[in-house]
């Protein structure tokens, strides 16, 4: 089973990113769970989203403590709590223009860190600060397509955004592909 934890703020699309990964994995005939951990819903409040992907039926309904992949949509959320319980085999995928290696090392994380300026990509390709789909593209590359295939993501983007027109679909496909190509190991 692969367990992913997504850290974002209300309104940044963390829940949608989780759902997108889950739906793409489902199309690859995997078992999935994707669920947000809410407080009372407020724009800007921290929201954790959990995604589990497995070849077998998923039984455990509790949240994820020991994630294998942590996706950070908002870098201001990085603190000791995010890094707690995370093994060095885990990978971090972070939306940032900076190199956050030192910060994460300070909190005791020794594993791989991948950084991508998904906000810039989203602003450029979509004209809006919605970095979630680009980040999923980056995550797919960082995990060497172990989580889901880029093709599955593309199919889901086409399906989910179909109603919003071809322009929006293509912009999102491009954003995902760019993050996939441009993500770098720090």
């Amino acid at each position: 089973m692969i367990e992913i934890r997504i850290h974002g703020r209300g309104g940044q699309g963390g829940k949608t990113a989780g759902q997108l990964i889950a739906e793409a994995a489902l199309s690859e005939k995997k078992y999935v769970h994707a669920f947000p951990e809410y407080g009372p819903e407020r724009t800007g409040a921290p929201v954790k989203t959990y995604v589990k992907i497995s070849d077998k039926e998923i039984l455990n309904h509790s949240g994820i403590k020991h994630a294998e992949i942590v996706l950070v949509i908002d870098e201001s959320l990085i603190d000791e709590d995010i890094v707690e319980n995370i093994a060095s085999t885990c990978i971090f995928v972070i939306n940032t223009k900076k190199d956050l290696t030192q910060k994460l090392r300070k909190f005791g994380f020794n594993g791989h860190i991948y950084c991508i300026d998904a906000t810039q990509i989203a602003l450029h390709e979509l004209g809006k600060n919605i970095p979630n789909i680009a980040l999923v593209g980056g995550l797919i590359k960082a995990s060497k397509e172990k989580v889901i295939k880029l093709k599955s993501l593309n199919n889901k983007i086409k399906k989910i955004l179909e109603k919003k027109g071809k322009g929006i679909v293509n912009a999102n496909l491009k954003a995902a592909k760019r993050a996939y190509d441009e993500i770098k190991k720090c």
Partner: protein, 378 residues
Amino acid sequence: MKKIKALTGNGAASEIMRQVNPDVVAAYPITPSTQIMEDFSQYLADGKVDTELIRVESEHSAISACVGASHAGARVMTATSSAGLAFMWEVLGVAAGLRTPMVMNVVNRTLSSPINIHCDHSDSMGARDLGWIQIYSENANEVYINNLIAIKLAEKINLPVMICQDGFITSHCVEGVDILEDKDVKKFIGEFKPKYSLLKDNIAIGNLALPDYFYEIKMQNVIAMEKAKKEFLRIDKEVNKLLKHETGYFEEYKLKDAKVVIVALSSTCGTVKSVINELRKKGKKVGLLKLRLFRPFPKEELKRVLGNKKIIVMDRSVSLGSDAPLYIEIKNATESKDIYSIIYGLGGRNIYEKEIKYIFERALNNKLKKLEYVGVRK
């Protein structure tokens, strides 16, 4: 034919409501069940259902409108949670007493105070004695299956049915759900043929009954509940032909040779199963009894399977001033002395595998106390 859709527990409930296309839905949306009514309103706006959707000013009115519409001959469904269910209280009893064949999805959330939007079972447990059939669902797949059972059961016995699922844990979790084709659902539930209708028949509903008749009428409710037990099994098997699932009043998970068994409801059962798989690998004889039908309560059947095992009952609610509801029922059914009560998860406090493992291990070593509150800070 079935297909797999990515749905939350709420999504599974609204999907089956779309397929059933009830004549009347009256609701007042409340967290965490809100998405059910959001989806359903969208289906109505998109012309996918032709239901009469009554937007009311409160849950008390929602259930009242449902009861009225049902006795006018309409197939009726609704959904609620927590304070919404509590506000329906008066009319919940009316619905059952009037033998109203309606189905309500209850997305379990705790009751105030303090105000809290997360899961425990205080809402539906509080409503357990009001004459509604109650079925609990472990995941979104079971929400769908249990709704199919409920519609037929309600209309066969003329009693209202609650389908319970865990707020947020199930209601907001996306998973792959097996969905039947629309036409297969329609064929399975058939057309609603009410035994009578206020609009067509010369009858009165909601009469006064003083001490000379009240008791006899109440006895009919008692008898109806007994009948509902048998019908549940029959309909459950019918649904199983369309969608394979663990049938029966309860699921027995590695129970037969188990020395220690946990009894629980809803999503926690999945987490318990996962722990059992791990402990079984180490040769520990542990099992689970997942109760599906809580009302009517399958007392004799439970006694037969739980017999002389060490029983741990996990309640996600408290009965302030007494023992927890599920524990009391299981103790009464089994008359066991080797039985332990665990209270957990109030107001949405997470329950983790390691806590369940710890409960099992201490039970195996005879170290469990008669009553424990798990996961609470001292």
